[in-house]
């Protein structure tokens, strides 16, 4: 107890997060079950997804207890993916446009 050995946190913290993850998963399943559609559906899915991912990384993977040098080294590089997603959307839209214009519909 006297020494800070590795990551030591009370078990109740984990049980709380476990419970929250269950609630969030149920919520995102309910989005599908009750056929929530369009923008409300997509925003709810993304909100629940990000909350779950955040809880897992922060608490289960102990990221909030690490030094900031570690946090930034691991959490900043994935931001590049936003650029990658943007490129994917442009590419996908362009392909769809070409298919609709130059090929018979539905092929």
């Amino acid at each position: 107890m006297a020494h800070a050995e590795g990551q030591q946190h009370p078990i109740s913290t984990y049980l709380w997060i476990w419970g929250l993850l269950f609630v969030l998963s149920t919520a995102s399943y309910m989005v599908d079950y009750f056929h929530v559609e369009s923008y409300l559906r997509w925003s709810l899915i993304i909100i629940f997804m990000l909350l779950k991912a955040g809880l897992i990384v922060a608490i289960f993977m102990h990221m909030i207890w690490e030094r900031m040098a570690m946090m930034y080294a691991i959490l900043l590089p994935p931001l590049l993916l936003i650029v990658f997603i943007g490129i994917g959307i442009l590419e996908g839209d362009n392909t769809l446009f070409s298919r609709i214009v130059y090929f018979a519909a539905g092929s």
Binding site: H3, E5, G6, Q7, Q8, H9, I11, Y14, L15, I17, W18, L21, F22, S25, S28, Y29, V31, D32, Y33, H35, R41, W42, I45, I46, F48, M49, K52, A53, I56, V57, I59, F60, M61, H62, E66, R67, M68, A69, M70, Y72, A73, I74, P77, P78, L81, F84, I85, G88, I89, E91, G92, D93, T95, L96, R99, I100, F103, A105, G106, S107
Partner: protein
């Protein structure tokens, strides 16, 4: 006590916190990641690279889904199961999600008991995690079998856009492979914990290094990452 203490990770008491800490830690001529054993830093860096691999899959899936002129299959119906005469949408996927979250919970507690050197509880919780993981892979195998019987192939399927099969098998297959490797990894570490290798400083048969309970946390990072990836697959592939 000194025999079994964990890796010396450098003195952090006197170092600045926050932004100044970032600058100080990244400064020069020192190990950057204080407070973290090298194995854990390496696992994080591996997971970062794995993040990019899974992102490549999910972004390719997004791109092909945007680009297809035929409608995408309705996943809610494709993945429904007939229970008692009713089609319950996505029920198997929901159960798999809950199982994987539960396995993450037991893993987090195993890490905790590992640092308390409670061998019995650590082993039991790790084996429980492995059992959850194995049942997850089992359900995935069931789901693959069901879809293959219904005629879903990487090059086409009876429900809609042809790209569905390729995306499905690639993404869930790679994730299932990660879970399977994790189950094997869990069983190996659980066996070592049970034998007391980390209390007696037994050298590993492969690396000839003395292990300690940090490996349980490193193992845990991998396992939580597998759960994390499933969160994104569940949202983007199954619910979208």
């Amino acid at each position: 006590m000194t025999e079994s203490t964990l890796t010396d990770t450098g003195d952090v008491q006197s170092r600045p916190e926050g932004w100044q800490g970032v600058v100080a830690d990244w400064g020069s001529d020192q190990r950057t990641f204080k407070n973290v054993p090298w194995g854990k830093a390496m696992m994080w860096i591996f997971l970062l690279s794995d993040t990019f691999i899974f992102s490549c899959f999910l972004i390719s899936y997004m791109t092909v889904r945007i680009s297809t002129a035929t409608p995408w299959p309705n996943t809610s119906a494709v993945f429904s199961l007939n229970i008692g005469g009713n089609d319950v949408p996505l029920i198997l996927i929901a159960i798999m999600t809950f199982i994987l979250i539960s396995s993450s919970g037991t893993m987090a507690m195993a890490v905790n008991f590992g640092y308390r050197k409670d061998r019995f509880k650590t082993t039991i919780l790790m084996l429980l995690t492995a059992a959850f993981g194995a049942s997850f892979v089992g359900m995935q195998a069931f789901e693959w079998t069901k879809l293959i019987h219904e005629g879903v192939r990487p090059w086409g399927n009876p429900f809609g856009a042809e790209q569905f099969g390729a995306s499905f098998f690639m993404i869930t297959g790679f994730h299932g492979f990660h879970v399977s490797i994790g189950v094997i990894f869990l069983i190996l570490v659980a066996r070592k914990v049970w034998r007391g290798d980390y209390d007696r400083n037994t050298r590993g048969f492969f690396t000839s290094r003395k292990g300690n309970y940090e490996i349980v946390e490193i193992m845990g990072l991998y396992w939580h990452f597998v759960d994390l990836v499933w969160v994104f697959i569940f949202a983007f592939f199954y619910l979208w």
